[in-house]
């Protein structure tokens, strides 16, 4: 589904991603962990072309995509993204947020989009808040709306960049439950998260990043119970 090869990214002189190779198969859930500044966000943002890597290739569905492509917005329709700080559109209602892409990107008639929006809000447990503005709902609710908004585009893959780390602890569970349900439905997902419970239960594979490299990857059991690399061990001992 997604193949990243030899990806290198610099911010000025700062080498942020170093020869990243990674594949994500259809239906797979991959969790990325690593210290702050190790390049997790940058990697995920490169997959969505929100950042441009200077070297290497990204293949989506067998199609090699260059960041120079004029059609990046078409590719982004296939890739959903959920942000740490939600980034809901504050001037639109919850429903408005969810149907924005359907109506203005896909050109779906509004009534039809609203039906679809209801279905999606139902799915994330937010149907009763369809008509309120994002400023009136909690962080956990915002994030579930953001997930519905991304799902509306019917993406082939969903990227999550620390979707629960800006939330109060008691709100994390609802968001993780929605994500777990998505995974059960067969969605291909790449998730940056330090929620180990979620990773153990949902992830097919865990990737550990350190200073711009993928240092170790394996099943959740392999990574959490039996890390081989010293740095992985050290990192895990800090977050446990």
């Amino acid at each position: 589904m997604i193949k990243v090869s030899k990806l290198n990214k610099w911010y000025g002189k700062h080498h942020v991603l170093k020869d990243i190779n990674m594949t994500v198969d259809a239906g797979e859930v991959v969790v990325i962990i690593g210290a702050s500044g190790s390049g997790k966000s940058t990697l995920v943002r490169c997959i969505n072309f929100l950042e441009k890597a200077q070297k290497g290739t990204i293949t989506i569905d067998g199609q090699v995509i260059s960041h120079k492509s004029k059609k990046l917005h078409l590719i982004r329709r296939e890739v959903g993204m959920v942000f740490q700080h939600f980034n809901l559109f504050p001037h639109m209602t919850v429903m408005g947020n969810v149907i924005e892409g359907l109506v203005y990107v896909k050109g779906m008639p509004k009534e039809e989009a609203i039906e679809e929006g209801k279905r999606l809000l139902e799915k994330v447990g937010m149907a009763d808040k369809a008509d309120v503005y994002p400023s009136m709902i909690s962080g956990g609710q915002k994030q579930r709306v953001a997930i519905a908004r991304a799902l509306a585009m019917n993406p082939k893959i969903m990227l999550f960049d620390e979707p629960t780390s800006a939330l109060d602890p008691e709100l994390v569970g609802d968001v993780l439950a929605v994500m777990q349900q998505l995974a059960n439905d067969g969605m291909t997902m790449v998730v940056i998260t330090h929620e180990m419970g979620f990773a153990r239960e949902v992830a097919d594979r865990v990737i550990y990043m350190d200073e711009g490299r993928i240092i170790e990857e394996g099943t959740p059991e392999e990574i959490y119970n039996n890390p081989k690399n010293e740095r992985t061990k050290e990192f895990l001992s800090k977050i446990l």
């Binding site: 982004r76 942000f83 980034n87 504050p90 924005e100 503005y133 908004r149 991304a150």
Partner: protein
């Protein structure tokens, strides 16, 4: 009361002041939006002319701009006083409004643009659907300030004999040697209009805050 009669005499002049102001604001808003977007463009052939326009207009007095357009463009196109005033005020306000819009656009969180991108929106769609609505709302306080300035600046059109409030006050004043009385009448008209303008701006701001959303 004689003074009331003069108030009535000044009504058409107040109307002219309003017309010049309205033209300045409307042309200024259109130019401001266009030049703000140009200035923010990554293409130099768009951003440089916008920077030049803003630099030129903000760096010279409005009176000079008025005189330049009325007398200076004679060789190219002969404009009457009133259209000259409309254009000069429009171009003048456009530069300031462009900077207001630019600041407001830049103040919108960059996560908003990224969210739009991740939905597969084009840059133009993101600007129109996501950035501009938020930026316009934030522009309202500085815009209302600019509109009040525009209203008062319209008095400079008296320099090219546009029959607005200040010109009339000076004409009546020199004819009767009672300049102070007529300046006072003009002042009352200006204050009435600026007060109404401020009230409308406050109302719009309040309405947006209550019924729409908070940030």
């Amino acid at each position: 009361m004689e003074i009331l009669k003069y108030f009535y005499d000044f009504l058409p002049a107040a109307g002219m002041t309003l017309q010049v102001t309205a033209a300045g604001i409307i042309i200024g808003m259109a130019l401001g939006l266009i030049f703000a977007l140009m200035r923010l463009s990554k293409f130099k052939f768009l951003s440089y002319p916008a920077k030049f326009y803003i630099w030129l207009i903000r760096g010279t007095p409005l009176l000079l701009q008025l005189l330049f357009i009325y007398f200076g463009l004679v060789g190219i196109i002969k404009l009457d006083q009133i259209p000259s005033a409309f254009i000069a005020l429009g171009i003048h306000n456009g530069a300031y409004i462009a900077e207001i819009f630019r600041g407001a656009i830049q103040s919108v969180d960059r996560g908003q643009r990224e969210a739009g991108k991740s939905l597969g929106m084009t840059n133009w769609m993101i600007m129109r659907r996501i950035i501009l609505p938020q930026a316009l709302k934030r522009s309202i306080p500085p815009l209302s300030n600019q509109f009040i300035i525009a209203l008062k600046d319209s008095s400079l059109a008296s320099a090219i004999a546009v029959p607005e409030l200040l010109l009339l006050a000076r004409q009546y004043g020199s004819a009767t040697y009672r300049l102070m009385d007529f300046l006072a009448i003009a002042a009352v008209y200006y204050l009435t209009m600026t007060t109404i303008l401020t009230a409308i701006a406050n109302l719009i701001e309040k309405k947006l805050n209550i019924s729409d959303y908070r940030e």
